[in-house]
Subunit: 442 residues, 2 copies
């Protein structure tokens, strides 16, 4: 993309309403614009990141055997009345009356609807397990929306729902999602810790939050340091027994302030204890027949008897992750995108737009990077160098290639690695090869 | 995808509420499920088609230089009050009150919001033209939602907005979209006719509907037959003068019953006249300063004076197109997908699941088709052949490969072309080569 043809409205000043880094940088870098409290437009740069995160989440769901569908944003209140949630859900639910005076709502989550879909079609254990997901906008009418996309009202969530014939089978679905989440967050460049969550009245051990570490995190995290050192499982056969991957993590203490047990934590050798702030980016939850029972979602079992579907749900905050990644990865100059979600792979800074040699060298780099699949952003605008460098640092592309007449005389361009700040003078072809190599296999 | 692991709830009976082919087939083929009147879930097969159409629309917008962003579904009423549309818009607008008693609405369209975004950031003619689009769910509270996704309440639309310094420049943006639409519909396997639309109080010649022909179309179309024979422009330089492509079409009569002029139509030689039913799938519209004036969206011109932005909007009904394509392409057995939007490229029918040779041959075809990029659906279920064939015909994949022990003894499988019904016996490798060739360059 040529910057002269792009829509990238970078702000010089930090808007006063933004108090945390991700909110400030997303506004300044022209990624989002607030339309109403907690409701944002995703400007082109922001949307690119959002879609990249969404795609990583999608690919890892597909690898785990989950099947994508899409439920609507507007739901009838009827299903929520069947499960008793219509009255139970607080003022966070956006309630709507349509022109026919029917009670509707903007879905904050989809357990009721997916259970209705399931009971409409699935009648036999032979069609189980089912793992269905969608990536759809949700609305929660927060009393105090804040921190930009971290706690917005309209937000993008991936929610998966599992249906099994028994709790034992449901545990297998749960483990699939557990492993898929570890892989998802690793691909996003994040270290996510699975933390046991409060199961509430349902009880049991099958509920975890996935928390990433960041100073601005909303909760306190307490865990064994070894959890931070474990690599994600990576390529696995999702039909195989996945308990090893789950158990070795569950054996180590991890809790948020909500579930923390000081006495248990104290049993860990002091050098292995870690306390930090964290941001919840995923939540997985087994809830058995909580919805299938009131809604009568049953299948015929191999014993020729009807069984209630045993269910779980598995959420990832896709739009929240955009902010979460920035909280975890930025410096005083701006954002530092992990390569897997960077809106562009590299920026090309033309130090002398209008100079024939500089223009030609930039065009050549631009075309070759596109051919190499790197997706560059070419700053072909007629601004001062300082403005261009500041903008590139702010938007945080992994590499910046600076092209000027002086370097070109020596046959080189300057390549800066945004995350380390390291600069190298390289021949243009070497620069292209180095950068395209860095994106291989992402 | 293996059918045994997919969620494809095919119905035997045609639901009584569905009166037109696309609605019937989308329900029967397990593409959609109605959740409330005019509100649908997109089941996995339906979502795949929706996303493919969306991607074709997106790619053609990008080629034309439009830049993608994403505005939210929920809007504040404030902007609509600025333009006077909040009171003018009828009961089709879904009005919402949030927990803070603020007037909100579910966006039926986005002129007001995009104009607000534009005025917040763009101040100089140097940053023009701007062509911004998004692909987002809209809501129109139709009094009588019907025909499935053809006239739903929650629907997916691509809407582009152009901002220029003058009407003359705006015409260039309009032409870009005109050409992009011709290319878009051709790639979708549709013959779309640009028909002059009623400009209403704004007047002028810059408003067209794009109409595809189908017996169930909502409007009558009258046009010169030559319009049906013109190929889309294909690869063009969108910065060049595009008027040739537009003018040669505008020179030929085309109207719907709303704008039809019998006397003008009668001037066409009788053999060249065509009358048919049509479905509107796109609408492009230049409206000058209709929104920029009340909202004060101005830029500084080269003359150092302020100029109101001259705007146009350009819509494609993405979810409606799923139905539109089926209306234009089906037979008594089911859907016939154009290759560019087919949910899977080919179906593999195992006539004898459990037979070692048939299973092995199917697995081999399945893996090789995936490697060739065809994305097959492998029917590995234990159903009768008749059930399998009926299902494949219903869901309408371009090719069906039938594998049975008898054919395998002769070293062949049977390949059926869904659109022609033609069947050939081919060696498996030949079948793979033939099918993957057919998808090259799509």
């Amino acid at each position: 993309m040529r910057l002269s043809r792009y829509f990238l409205p970078v702000l010089k000043e930090t808007p006063s309403e933004a108090t945390i880094a991700s909110h400030q940088y997303m506004l300044r870098a022209g990624m989002i614009k607030q339309n109403s409290a907690g409701i944002y437009s995703w400007l082109p740069l922001g949307l690119k990141v959002l879609r990249k995160i969404e795609n990583v989440v999608r690919e890892e769901q597909n690898k785990a055997g989950a099947v994508e569908m899409l439920m609507p944003t507007i739901q009838s209140a009827d299903l929520w009345k069947e499960t008793g949630r219509y009255d139970a859900y607080g003022p966070e639910m956006l309630r709507i009356t349509d022109r026919g005076d029917r009670e509707m709502l903007y879905g904050p989550t989809n357990e009721d609807m997916i259970t209705d879909i399931f009971r409409s079609y699935v009648k036999s254990y032979k069609d189980l397990p089912q793992l269905l997901y969608h990536i759809q906008w949700k609305f929660r009418d927060e009393r105090r929306p804040r921190f930009g996309v971290m706690r917005g009202r309209e937000f993008l969530m991936k929610d998966t729902y599992s249906f099994d014939i028994s709790e034992e089978e449901a545990r297998r679905s749960y483990y699939k999602m557990f492993v898929a989440y570890l892989n998802t967050f690793e691909r996003l460049g994040l270290k996510a810790i699975p933390v046991k969550a409060d199961p509430g009245p349902i009880g049991g051990d099958l509920t975890h939050e996935f928390v990433i570490l960041a100073e601005t995190g909303e909760s306190e995290v307490f865990c064994h340091k070894a959890l931070l050192e474990m690599d994600a499982p990576g390529v696995v056969d999702f039909e195989s027994d996945l308990s090893g991957h789950v158990d070795k993590r569950r054996a180590l203490y991890a809790a948020t302030d909500e579930t923390h047990d000081e006495a248990e934590f104290a049993k860990i050798p002091e050098a292995d204890r870690m306390t930090a702030r964290g941001i919840e980016v995923g939540h997985i939850f087994y809830f058995g027949d909580k919805y299938s029972k009131p809604m009568g979602a049953k299948v015929m079992g191999p014993d020729n008897k009807e069984h209630l579907a045993m269910m779980g749900s598995y959420g990832v905050g896709v739009s929240r992750l955009v902010g979460g990644i920035i909280e975890a990865s930025h410096d005083e100059d701006g954002i530092i995108w992990p390569k897997s979600v960077a809106p562009f792979g590299a920026g090309i800074v033309n130090l002398k737009t209008g100079n024939a040699e500089a223009d030609a060298a930039c065009e050549n780099l631009y075309e070759q990077l596109i051919a190499a699949g790197v997706d560059p952003l070419y700053d072909d605008r007629d601004d001062r160098g300082g403005v261009k460098f500041g903008r590139m640092d702010l938007i945080g592309l992994p590499y910046q290639i600076t092209v000027g007449p002086r370097g070109l005389k020596n046959g080189v361009v300057e390549v800066k690695d945004r995350s380390t700040g390291e600069k190298q003078e390289l021949a243009p072809d070497t620069a292209i090869a180095m950068i395209s190599d860095a994106f291989k296999g992402l």
